[in-house]
């Protein structure tokens, strides 16, 4: 059965590493939904969160192939029930008149987003949440006129004291 898997990996934070990792995705034909990467708790480490579509075997293979890369220090599959998962999206919508603006404000309120930029013609909204929540926001506000969307891809951490760290 195909579903979405979230994999968290701790990798060397140095040039070329992202290339090598994405190379592996491509070579092995994995179905990648999103990749989010940034500096981790240590400056010389990056944490990379990858969501892939596939079945159980794909997820296992994916973690295995990631771990075979020497620039990857650790790779783990996260259980969505035991992880905090967030994505940030910036959504620029057409907002030409007062009615449109107030409708947009209404949705932003419901989704607990923020207006981060306004112009005479547009409003840019920041939404944080699960991928599904962002999908829902976009599909509801599309009718206003979607100008641009930028999404970070999901990033995640295990809930509670458990962790994916170098020293453990």
């Amino acid at each position: 059965m195909t579903k979405t898997y979230i994999i968290s990996a701790l990798v060397e934070h140095k040039p070329g590493v992202l290339y090598k990792i994405s190379n592996m995705f491509w070579r092995r034909g994995f179905n990648i939904e999103s990749v989010a990467i940034g500096t981790a708790e240590q400056e010389d480490l990056a944490r990379i969160t990858i969501t892939i579509e596939g079945d159980e075997k794909d997820a296992e293979q994916f973690v295995g192939h990631l771990e075979k890369l020497i620039d990857v220090l650790k790779a783990t599959r996260l259980d969505p029930k035991k992880a905090v998962i967030r994505e940030l999206a910036l959504v620029k919508l057409k907002a030409k008149d007062a009615k449109m603006r107030s409708d947009i404000f209404h949705y932003v309120d419901v989704f607990r987003g923020r207006i981060v930029d306004v112009s005479p013609e547009t409003a840019t909204v920041e939404i944080v949440g699960s991928k599904d929540k962002i999908d829902a926001f976009i599909s509801l506000t599309k009718s206003f006129g979607l100008v641009e969307v930028a999404r970070t891809g999901e990033t995640a951490l295990i809930r509670g004291p458990e962790s994916v760290r170098l020293d453990e």
């Binding site: 060397e12 070329g16 070579r27 075997k57 293979q61 020497i70």
Partner: protein, 556 residues
């Protein structure tokens, strides 16, 4: 100390004895430093051959093979050889020159981003940007190339870093944090597998190249004898189990023996060791041994269940896993009696061995290869090219010891066999080395004759000369209505004259008797020899399982 000197010293510390390579502008400083070292440099005529030689050296000896090239085209010429080594898990280190660091990224003369190009083909690759970085880079490249499942590593050394000087330290420390521990056999899994094997009525062992890499052929033989289990190998596993052993079933797969391909279906428990269930080995996967319980032992966890669904697994190097299994089984199977399964195996083997060839032709590949086996010592090393020659060799040439049958299995790389033979001979000068070749493949790296002759690394090439890209022609005969497209090579070159022009010995034979004489000469004289054996261009390699069919659906 200069970067070039530091590199050479680091290679000496790794006990490198031989480097196969060809210089160019971006690596001259290293070549200069090599003059002051005891490391032997073997000059090739094409860098692809340098990589294949390093690979053949590694497979024959188990030691890491080293090849070297200049930047740009020199480096890219190595790539085919690196991928060949990667797919067959061969430990190699490639060293390439690179343009000077200020020029990197500017499309400088002979610049190639070899790190990116070779990235998918290497376990480790690094471009040291300072002299101090060279020794640890070398240490890590060698460490990783041979670690766990072996494979190629690449060191790309910019020219200015070769020339710069600095105080350098040599240490055995590995800086890399991402090295994962080598998996060791899990006791409960060993127990479970031992149980499954001891209860099996019709156990069958399928051994792959991983058992050779693990140097575990002895343990494999113990296990087979304990279980009275027949052993077949994949192409890569050939030699790991003596093919003249009463339990040997030879090779299974697309060009496996009919008997092995049939009998494996009767097994109730299939134990696969160091074998990745490649499509050429299993035929149509869904129909491969559907009734058997399948156990897999592999050091690479991503190979477990990658292709074939399995019932039990041990993630480990084959040697400790087999040691533990044997220990666990000795007690359980002390009084194992021959069963109807043993009888069946014996019968089937007799049928296959007593099959007489009824071809009236004088020089057929089976006859030639059986004769070769008869004449050369058991410990001789044989390499192959790719195509019909390779499949004939695997079917009819019995390999008796590990590391004596060397072939490009995963990549199927034409031109591999001859340079690999030279590499093997460089590693094992005490053993006779033969390349079983096709005419088409041999032409691809035939310029290695210069290396073989001038560097005095004598090997013998036996060309099964059908004047054809024979394997492609066979597919066109069988599956494309005999419509030959681009497979006729014509009767050029004259291989005898070609050999002679390089100062090698060239012999054309027209009968088995002449063939025997030529082989005996080559054994005695130890000079580079090319034996041209003209064969019928219409000859097929049979039996054959067409792509997409189960192993039971054999042609021929």
């Amino acid at each position: 100390m200069s970067g070039a000197k530091a590199l050479v010293k680091a290679l000496e510390r790794e006990k490198v004895e031989t480097i196969f390579g060809l210089p160019g502008g971006a690596i001259i400083p290293v070549y200069d430093a090599l003059l002051d070292s005891n490391i032997r440099h073997v000059l090739v005529r094409h860098e692809q051959s340098a990589a294949h030689m390093a690979d053949g050296y590694a497979r024959a000896s188990g030691k890491t093979g080293v090849c070297m090239a200049t930047s740009g085209p020199g480096a890219t010429n190595l790539v085919t050889g690196l991928v060949t080594g990667q797919l067959d898990s061969s430990p190699m280190v490639a060293i390439t020159g690179q343009v000077s660091t200020p020029q990197i990224g500017l499309d400088a003369f002979q610049e190639a981003d070899i790190i990116s190009i070779a990235s998918p083909a290497t376990k480790y690759n690094h471009q040291p940007r300072s002299v101090e970085e060279i020794p640890p880079t070398v240490r890590e490249a060698f460490f990783i190339a041979s670690l766990g499942r072996p494979g190629p590593a690449l060191i790309d050394l910019p020219k200015d870093v070769q020339v710069d000087t600095a105080e350098v330290e040599f240490s055995d420390k590995i800086r890399i944090r991402g090295i994962k521990p080598i998996p060791t056999p899990d006791n409960t899994q060993i127990g479970r597998v031992a149980e499954m094997l001891s209860e099996a009525e019709k156990p069958f062992i399928l051994a792959g190249g991983g058992v050779i890499v693990a140097n575990a052929s002895h343990q494999l033989q113990n296990l087979a004898e304990l279980l009275l289990a027949p052993v077949a190998t994949s192409l890569m596993g050939k030699g790991v189990f003596p093919e003249n052993h009463p339990l040997s079933m030879g090779m299974i797969g697309m060009h496996g023996s009919k008997e092995a391909n049939q009998i494996i279906y009767d097994a109730d428990v299939l134990l696969a060791i160091g074998c990745r269930f490649s499509d050429r080995t299993t035929g149509k996967l869904d129909e491969f041994c559907p009734a058997a319980k399948v156990i897999q032992i592999d050091i690479d966890s991503t190979e477990i269940g990658k292709n074939k669904c399995i019932d039990a697994a041990i993630v480990s190097d084959a040697a400790p896993a087999l040691n533990m299994l044997n220990k666990a089984l000795v007690k359980k199977l002390k009084h194992k009696k021959k069963t109807s399964w043993s009888k069946k195996i014996k019968e089937i083997k007799e049928i296959s061995e007593n099959k007489i060839e009824n071809s009236g032709k004088e020089l057929t590949p089976p006859k030639i290869l059986r004769e070769l086996r008869r004449l050369i010592p058991d410990k001789s090393i044989v390499t192959t090219e790719v195509g019909q020659n390779q499949m004939w060799a695997s079917l009819y040439f019995k390999a008796l010891r590990p590391r004596t049958f060397i072939t490009s299995g995963g990549f199927g790389c034409m031109g591999y066999g001859f340079p690999a033979a030279i590499g093997a001979k460089a590693a094992r000068p005490d053993l006779p080395v033969f390349d079983i070749a096709g005419d088409g493949s041999f032409i691809m790296t035939e310029n290695s004759l210069a290396t073989s002759v001038l560097e005095k690394i004598p090997v013998t090439v036996v060309i099964l000369n059908n004047r054809m890209l024979g394997m492609v022609a066979q597919w066109q005969r069988l599956f494309f209505n005999r419509r030959y497209s681009a497979v006729q090579l014509g009767n050029v070159p004259d291989f005898v004259k070609l050999a002679e022009s390089y100062g090698a010995q060239g012999i054309r034979v027209g009968s088995i008797l002449e063939f025997s004489k030529a082989i005996k000469t080559s054994l005695k004289e130890e000079v580079t020899t090319v034996i041209d054996v003209p064969i019928d261009p219409e000859e097929n390699v049979l039996p054959m399982v067409p792509v997409g069919y189960s192993l039971k659906e054999v042609i021929g």
